[in-house]
C-alpha cells in the first residue's frame, strides 16, 4: 500500500497545492479520489509520481521512500505506471508503435515485449483490430484504452489514472471503466482521480474525498452511494450568505 503522511506539495515555491495530505491507499483495490475543482486531486497523483515538488511530509510504498524516485524511475524501478489527464498517445505513430514505445524500459527483452503487447491486444480487442492505424485516427475512448493498455506493458503493480473519462461520451466511457475494472482482477492496484463522481463510486472500492488540498474523508464506496448527492450539493452551495 501507498502511505502519505502530512504531505505538502506544489509547483511553485511558497504555494502548497497539497496542504497536509494523510491517507493510505490499499493494495489490490481501486481507490477513487474525488473533490471539487482546485481540491488538488491531479496534483496528488503528480506529486506521488514525482512531477511536483514535495515541501513537507512523506510518501512510502512497501518500504520504498517514493520521494527519492524520478518519474522514469517510478515506472522502471518501483513499478508504478501513470496515465495522465491530457492526451498522451503519439498521434502520428501506429497503435502498435505506441505500444512498443510503452515497453521502452523492457525493450532489451524482445520475447517479453512481444508477449506483453499480445496480452494487451487480448484485453483490448478494439486495439487489436486497429494495430496499424495511426493512433490519432482512433476515437477518444479508444485512445484512452490505448493509454491504459500501454501503461500495462511493463507489468506494473500500481496504475494511476487521471480523469479516465474526461471529454468522452458516456458510451465510450463505459469501455474505459470496464478496462479499469479488469485491472483489479489482475491484482493491479489502481488510484483513480475522477470528476465523474457516480462512476468513481460505481467502479471504485475506496472513496477519498479531497477539498482544498486535504483528504477530508475516506470510506468504502459501498457506504457512500447514497451520500454522494448530498456531498455534491454541499460543494456547489454557497458557504454563508449570498450578498
Amino acid at each position: 500500500m501507498i502511505e502519505l503522511d502530512g504531505l505538502r506539495a506544489g509547483y511553485v515555491k511558497g504555494i502548497d497545492v497539497l496542504d497536509g495530505v494523510t491517507a493510505t491507499f490499499e493494495s489490490d483495490r481501486i481507490s477513487s479520489i474525488v473533490g471539487p475543482n482546485g481540491a488538488g486531486k491531479s496534483t496528488l497523483l503528480k506529486t506521488i509520481y514525482g512531477f511536483a515538488d514535495v515541501n513537507e511530509g512523506t510518501i512510502t510504498y512497501d518500504g520504498y521512500d517514493l520521494t527519492e524516485y524520478s518519474p522514469s524511475e517510478m515506472l522502471r524501478d518501483v513499478g508504478i505506471a501513470y496515465v495522465p489527464q491530457e492526451r498522451s498517445v503519439f498521434p502520428e505513430l501506429s497503435v502498435h508503435e505506441n505500444l512498443k514505445l510503452g515497453a521502452w524500459t523492457i525493450r532489451g527483452d524482445e520475447t517479453r515485449t512481444e508477449a506483453a503487447i499480445e496480452s494487451v491486444y487480448g484485453q483490448f480487442p478494439a486495439l487489436d483490430e486497429k494495430r496499424h492505424a495511426r493512433a490519432g485516427t482512433l476515437s477518444g475512448g479508444q485512445q484512452r484504452m490505448l493509454e491504459i493498455g500501454r501503461s500495462l506493458l511493463t507489468d506494473p503493480d500500481i496504475v494511476f489514472v487521471d480523469e479516465p473519462s474526461a471529454g468522452l461520451a458516456p458510451d465510450l466511457s463505459e469501455n474505459v471503466y470496464d478496462s479499469i475494472d479488469r485491472l483489479r482482477e489482475q491484482s493491479v492496484t489502481v488510484l483513480l482521480v475522477d470528476q465523474n463522481i457516480r462512476a468513481a463510486v460505481e467502479y471504485g472500492d475506496d472513496l477519498f474525498i479531497m477539498e482544498q488540498g486535504q483528504v477530508v474523508a475516506n470510506e468504502p464506496t459501498d457506504d457512500m452511494t447514497d451520500e454522494v448527492e448530498d456531498l455534491v450539493s454541499e460543494w456547489i452551495s454557497a458557504k454563508g450568505e449570498i450578498a
Binding site: 463522481i197 460543494w235 449570498i242
Partner: protein
Amino acid sequence: MTIRTENLTKRFGGLTAVDQVSLEVNDEIVGLMGPNGSGKSTFVNCITGVHAPSAGHVYHHEEEITGAKMYEIAQQGVARTFQTPHIFGSLSVHENVMVPLLNTSRDRAEIEALAAEYIELVGLDHLIEEEAQSLSGGQKKLLEFARCLMRDPDVVFMDEPFAGVHAEIKTTMNDRIEALREDGTDFLIVSHEVNSLYDISDRINVFDQGRLIVSDTPERVQDHERVVEAYLGGATE
C-alpha cells in the same frame, strides 16, 4: 442586448464542445459554471474570436460578430481575460497597459495618463515600471484586467479570474468589477469557485457537456437538481 448568442455550436472533430447555446448578457454580471469539460471556456472563445463557431450566431448590440477576428471584436468594445494571463513579459507594467490604445490616434501623453489610472485602480502602481515578467501570477491577472479596460469596453468576459490568486487580489478584483458594473459595463465570468460567483453575479448559467442546462439566480441554482446531476457526472450509460 449587449451580447446575444443564438444556437452557438463548436465542434472539434467528433467532439461537440459547445452545443446550440443561446444566452444573453445585458445590464448585468452573469456567472458561468459547470463541470470540467462542459464547454465554458470554448464558449467564451467562440464569442471573443479565438475560435470561429461551427454553427450559430453571436450578436453585439444586435450586430453580428460571428466568426469575426479577435482584434476586430476587441476593437468593438468586447474585452476578455484568460485563465492563464496573457501579458507582454518584456514590456513594463505601464507599457503593457498602454498597448491597446497605441494604434489609435490618441496622444501618447493621454494614453500614458489613462494607463497609470487603471494601474492604480488595480493596485499595481508601486510596480508600474517593473518588467511584467517579474510579477506574480495574481498580479499578472490584475495587469491583464487593467489592460483590457483601456478601450472602455461595454462587456468583459473573464475566464477563471479567481483561480490561484490570493484573497486580497480576489477582493480587489471583486470591488473593481462591481464598481465597473455600476458604471454600465457588463460582465460574464467563468469560474469554478462557485462561492465567489454567487457573491458577485446577478444571474448564473450552468453548462453541462456543452449545453446550457440552467439559467437562474444564484440562490435557486444551488438547490437545482439538474445542477447537482451535472456535477455528479451521471452514470456511465
